[in-house]
Structures are given as structure tokens and as C-alpha cells.
């Protein structure tokens, strides 16, 4: 049990606990806030795992952008601020499949790794990571940028039905 393990355990506990709250809370807005907690805990785990860049990107994009987007969406869809009763469906199948997937995977991992320990190598270096991205993975990277662009345009078009409308009589 090293420090890293303890940190990971603690952060993991936070992440899992907050995640449980995300999927169980009756407040839509609170769910978003719990999500922030989960994502932050995961970012902490990345740090422990010596993946600094991933951690910061996680914080920037997830916490900074995605969650904000989600909260905006919550507002735009005029979700109730308080607790609402009809957010959930029956828990039975969800519990079965979700629990099965989670515990099953966990069992597999446990079976695979037992309690073995590995040593950390070199601490994460962003420079090397950059070389990697723009060396080996430059083509996916570029494709990804196109994807982002496409998603951007797609999001605009989907959310603005008046753009594609032929007769232009969609009221706004």
C-alpha cells in the first residue's frame, strides 16, 4: 500500500460516490453538480497516475465546458430546479445490467491483476506526449478536428431548424 494507492482509493471512493449520486438524485441540477465532483475526482486520479496533461484537459474540457453545457441545457429545457418525481424508470433491469456490467468488469480486473504492484516509470512529460500526438497519431488528430467541426456545424443545424427550412416561415 503506497501513498499512490491510498490516494487512488480515496479519489476513487469520491468519484464512485458522486457518480452514484449523479444517477440517483432527484434534482437535475444537482446531478450536474455531482458530475463535476466525479469528474474532478477522476482528474485527480489522472494526476496520481502521472498523466498530467490528461488531468488538466479533463478539468478544462469536462468540468469547464461539458458540464457548463449540460447546465445550460438544463436551463433551456426548463427542467425543474427542485426535486422531480418522474426522472426515473423502474430500477430493476437497470440495476441488473448496470450492476452486472460493473461488478463483472471489476471481477475480471481483480482476477487479472490480483494485488500485484507496478512501479511508476518516468513521470508524465507533456513534450513526449506532444511528439506522440503529432507524430504517430497525427492523422487521427486531424480527422478528429474535422469531426469537431462537423459536430459544431451539426449542433448548430440541429438546434436551429430555421436554418435549413426551405420556406423560411418557421417562426422565431
Amino acid at each position: 500500500m503506497t501513498v499512490a494507492d491510498i490516494l487512488l482509493l480515496a479519489l476513487g471512493a469520491v468519484a464512485v460516490g458522486a457518480a452514484l449520486l449523479v444517477v440517483t438524485t432527484a434534482h437535475v441540477v444537482r446531478a450536474g453538480l455531482y458530475l463535476v465532483l466525479t469528474l474532478g475526482a477522476v482528474a485527480g486520479m489522472y494526476l496520481v497516475l502521472a498523466a498530467e496533461l490528461v488531468a488538466w484537459v479533463q478539468v478544462l474540457i469536462y468540468v469547464g465546458a461539458v458540464v457548463v453545457l449540460l447546465l445550460f441545457a438544463v436551463m433551456l429545457t426548463r427542467a425543474p430546479i427542485g426535486a422531480s418525481a418522474d426522472l426515473d424508470r423502474p430500477a430493476g433491469p437497470a440495476m441488473l445490467i448496470g450492476g452486472g456490467a460493473g461488478l463483472g468488469l471489476a471481477a475480471l480486473f481483480i482476477d487479472a491483476y490480483r494485488w500485484t504492484a507496478v512501479e511508476f516509470g518516468e513521470p508524465g512529460r507533456v513534450g513526449v506526449l506532444g511528439e506522440e500526438i503529432f507524430g504517430n497519431w497525427v492523422l487521427p488528430f486531424e480527422v478528429l478536428s474535422v469531426l469537431l467541426l462537423a459536430a459544431l456545424i451539426g449542433a448548430i443545424i440541429v438546434s436551429r431548424p430555421d436554418i435549413g427550412a426551405r420556406n423560411g416561415k418557421v417562426p422565431h
Binding site: A4, L8, G12, A15, V16, A19, V22, V23, V28, A31, L35, T38, L39, M45, Y46, L49, V54, Y62, L70, F72, A73, T77, A79, D86, L87, D88, R89, P93, A94, M95, G98, G99, G102, G104, L105, A106, L108, F109, Y113, R114, W115, A117, V118, F120, G121, E122, G124, V128, I133, N136, W137, P140, L147, A151, L152, G154, A155, V158, S159, P171
Partner: protein, 133 residues
């Protein structure tokens, strides 16, 4: 470092995400659950990168940071996904004045036994626009 710890956490997060996707009716909550699953995958990737780097770097095989790269990619894709997803959610909400996914039909309705049911199921932009903003 015991890789089993982050792995198990990832597995649990994934299971929770699945549970959320299945449990929740609200489209935004659904998206949040999906984010949980994506994060679980990211944890696995990063852990694996660390582990592999540790075990294989000495042997000179394996490319370090591949897991990190993938994690980054997934984060970007997740962002894109959320963007598009939320746009769809907004549109859905505009059409049905609800963000619940239960009621979305996946195919054309069968030849309607009664016309009223059919028009109710038909996505019809002009009537949807009647929803007050």
C-alpha cells in the same frame, strides 16, 4: 502502485454509468450517465498506459503515452458528442416540450387504427413551433 485499484474504480464507474443510462428518463441525465461511462474508459486507458509503460519500457517495446493520447481523443469526442447530443435534446424538447426519451418512436408508426394517435406520434415541425418559448 496497484493497478487493480483504478481498474476496479473504472469498472464501478462504468457500471454506474450503465445503470444511469437505463434508469434515467431525462435526456440530459442520460448524457451525464454516458459521460460517466466515457470517464471509466479513460481511467482504464490511462492506467493501462501507466502500467504498460512501467512494465514494457524497460524492454524497449511499446509506445508510451498511447493510452494518454486515446484518453485525450476520447475527451474531445465526448465534448463533440455532448454538443451534438444537447442540440438534439433541445430540438426534442422543442418538439415535445419534454426531454424524456421514453416517448420517442424509433420507426414510422404502423398504419394507424385511429388518426388522432397517428398525428400525435408524427413529428410535425409547424405544430411543434406552437410550443411557447
Amino acid at each position: 502502485m496497484r493497478p487493480v485499484i483504478p481498474y476496479v474504480i473504472a469498472a464501478l464507474l462504468f457500471g454506474i454509468g450503465v445503470y444511469g443510462v437505463l434508469r434515467r428518463r431525462h435526456a440530459i441525465l442520460l448524457l451525464m450517465a454516458v459521460e460517466l461511462m466515457l470517464n471509466a474508459v479513460n481511467i482504464v486507458l490511462v492506467t493501462a498506459a501507466t502500467t504498460v509503460q512501467a512494465t514494457l519500457a524497460a524492454a524497449g517495446v511499446g509506445t508510451p503515452y498511447t493510452g494518454h493520447v486515446f484518453a485525450l481523443f476520447i475527451i474531445v469526442i465526448a465534448a463533440a458528442e455532448v454538443g451534438v447530443g444537447l442540440a438534439i435534446v433541445l430540438q426534442l424538447f422543442r418538439l415535445r416540450s419534454s426531454a424524456a426519451v421514453d416517448t420517442v418512436p424509433l420507426s414510422d408508426p404502423d398504419p394507424p387504427p385511429d388518426a388522432a394517435h397517428a398525428t400525435a406520434a408524427e413529428p410535425d415541425p409547424p405544430t411543434a413551433e406552437a410550443v411557447p418559448r
